[in-house]
Amino acid sequence: MSEFLQFLINGVAVGSMYALIALGYTMVYGIVSLINFAHGEFMMMGAFIGALVLHRLQGTPLVVALLIAMLASGLIAVVTELVAYRPLRNQPKIFVLTAAIAVSVLLQNVARLVFGSSAVAFPASFPEGSIAFDSLGIWIEYSQLIVLCLSLVLMVGLWLVVNKTKIGMAMRATSQDLEAARLMGIDTNLIISFTFFVGASLAGAVGVLYGMQYSVDPLMGVQPGLAAFVAAVLGGIGSLPGAMIGGVLIGVIENLVAGYLSSTYQSAITFLILILVLSVKPSGLLGRMTVVKV
């Protein structure tokens, strides 16, 4: 029982980071029907920028570094959309999907050139140590607690922005029908840029969280990026609550499989889930079935 709880805690901690990344995938998909494969790289950029700020300006409070990383990742995403995706918006979908893969490789190599290819430790780290619950035989690390709390704050913040603000309403409108939203006087280009910004800044925040717990390197976005993509599909791509649930589920399943089956299958299970979802229920857990109108 205590092992099960421990695997669960580990899973939820990792899963909540997947969830934050998955939100970006699902938001962008919801608005321009694009699987942005460069999304994991926005997370990596956030990690490097957070590390750079803490390294160069010693004494910067962590929250400030986190905010700068979020802002920078968001801006990189806005520029990416402007330069690489917008010109292709009226082309077949495969064009812009290919562009996303190209941006992903480009950002990895830019990071390699600028920051070097080997992994570096984050300048500051979470306070080490954990709270042990001896009666249950489990422990929760401070870092896991911080990740959980911050994820919760960011998710609530996102929910408020989408559901309680004017720009959020415009986002929902654009997501429902881009043409109609434009006819209603919504600047859809601005809304698309804003969506990219918000999604990538969440990824940037994860980058800092991830970097602080582990390490920072140019390829760090690949694995969590793929896991979050599967999470978004599992939750139902386009659905915000779906992405959150999907992310946490993927994290938990990964760790339960590693815990009870074999750690050899830890990565494989993610993609098995992807295949199962796509073949059994392509709309995911909370996604709506879309009927393609001819």
Binding site: Q6, N10, V14, V120, W139, Y214, Q223, G259, S263, S267
Partner: protein, 382 residues
């Protein structure tokens, strides 16, 4: 006049190319990574080579005078490695190729050397495949599986550990080879493997694997990976209060390991490597002080391998008495108990080196010499 000069040049060329006249000279084509991602390895190897030749000039000036070295850059990739080796073989007409570090690049060089019928000696490529391609290929370092069995002996006898767990990278041949030989030797020596877990390079969270391993209460944990993951494994084990001695191979040998793990978590683990700069052996100490005096920094494992490699070639050339490929090949194969700074080398039937392994103990910021483990060579000394 111009024609006259050309004729002279032609005569000179004819003479230098003449095998009988040049037979007592050895031209070595040293191909290493002087640029690109592995350039620190290449730089260390070449520094080791330079130091070895200037020391040889003092101890055996006659031999040193006969050896010339042509350097070429393999630019840290297999394609340029193949080009570089063709250049030294076809343009410079070297008698023997010396290089390189990364096994995949050495493998790319083997074909050209074999086609030219010249021996190739790599000082540092540990992949077993390298020497299986041709009897002309030699290596002067140990191979990956060997580290595994030495680590098992060390855990059983030096650390008196009986229950081991393994956490390996299941997508790396290096990691799996090391683990496989460790397990076999550890069980044969009366030990027990209590847990066997895997991860994948690129993953950064290993807590569930460590949770499982901890539940089995091993007294030693083998982590045969590279420093990028091993550093994080050490850090996470400490975060969850899991105190266990970890063991690993030469993939740990990087300062980055200590940065990623953090000072406290990095302490008191052991890994095998080629060389320890603080080895008390006087030959090692002399090498370290010579190296520091000349290059202004501490030598790494690659420097020691470059140093020994070129001296093993020089030794074989001296015994062969000629630069002909078959004679060099025979002499290299007959290398027995060559005493170098990275241990005593004997070349076995597979043309791999059988030599001592150094075990280093980690501290908070770096590793120090812990033990040197010799091997039965199975060959008699000269």
């Amino acid at each position: 006049m111009v024609r006259f000069r050309c004729t002279l040049a032609a005569i000179a060329l004819a003479f230098t190319a003449h095998p009988v006249l040049a037979a007592d000279k050895l031209k070595v084509g040293a191909v290493f990574a002087l640029s690109g991602g592995q350039s620190t390895y290449g730089e260390e190897s070449i520094n080791g080579l330079d130091l070895a030749l200037s020391n040889l000039a003092k101890t055996d000036p006659a031999l040193a005078a006969k050896i010339t070295v042509i350097r070429e850059d393999e630019k840290s990739n297999p394609v340029d490695a193949a080009t570089a080796v063709k250049k030294v073989l076809n343009v410079d007409q070297v008698d023997i190729v010396f290089g390189t570090v990364a096994s995949s690049n050495t493998l790319a060089m083997v074909a050209a050397a074999v086609a030219a019928g010249k021996p190739l000696v790599t000082p540092a490529s540990t992949n077993p495949e390298v020497t299986k391609k041709s009897p002309l290929v030699f290596r002067t370092c140990f191979i990956d599986p060997f580290q595994g069995s030495v680590l098992a002996d060390f855990a059983l006898h030096n650390l008196s550990k009986k229950k081991a767990a393994v956490l390996l990278d299941h997508k790396s041949d290096y990691s799996m080879g090391l683990a496989q030989y460790f397990e076999a030797a550890f069980k044969a020596g009366g030990g027990e493997i209590v847990a066997n877990e895997a991860y994948e390079a690129g993953k950064k969270d290993f807590k569930t694997q460590l949770t499982k391993i901890r539940a089995r209460r091993p007294d030693v944990l083998l982590v045969p990976g590279y420093y990028q993951e091993v550093g994080l494994i050490m850090k996470q084990a400490r975060q969850m209060g899991f105190q266990v001695t970890m063991l690993g191979g030469d993939g740990w040998d990087s300062p980055t390991l200590f940065e990623l793990a953090g000072a406290e978590a990095a302490k008191d683990h052991y890994f095998s490597s080629h060389f320890a700069p603080d080895d008390k052996d006087p030959a090692v100490q002399k090498f370290v002080s010579d190296y520091k005096a000349r290059f202004g920094k501490q030598p790494g494992a690659m420097a020691s391998l470059g140093y020994d490699g070129i001296l093993i070639i020089a030794d074989a050339f001296k015994r062969a008495g000629t630069n002909s490929a078959p004679a060099l090949q025979k002499a290299l194969a007959e290398t027995v108990n060559f005493r170098g700074v990275s241990g005593t080398t004997t070349i076995n039937a597979q043309h791999d080196a059988v030599k001592d392994i150094v075990i280093l103990k980690t501290g908070s910021t770096g590793a120090t010499f812990a033990a040197k483990i010799g091997v039965a060579t199975g060959k008699k000394s000269h």
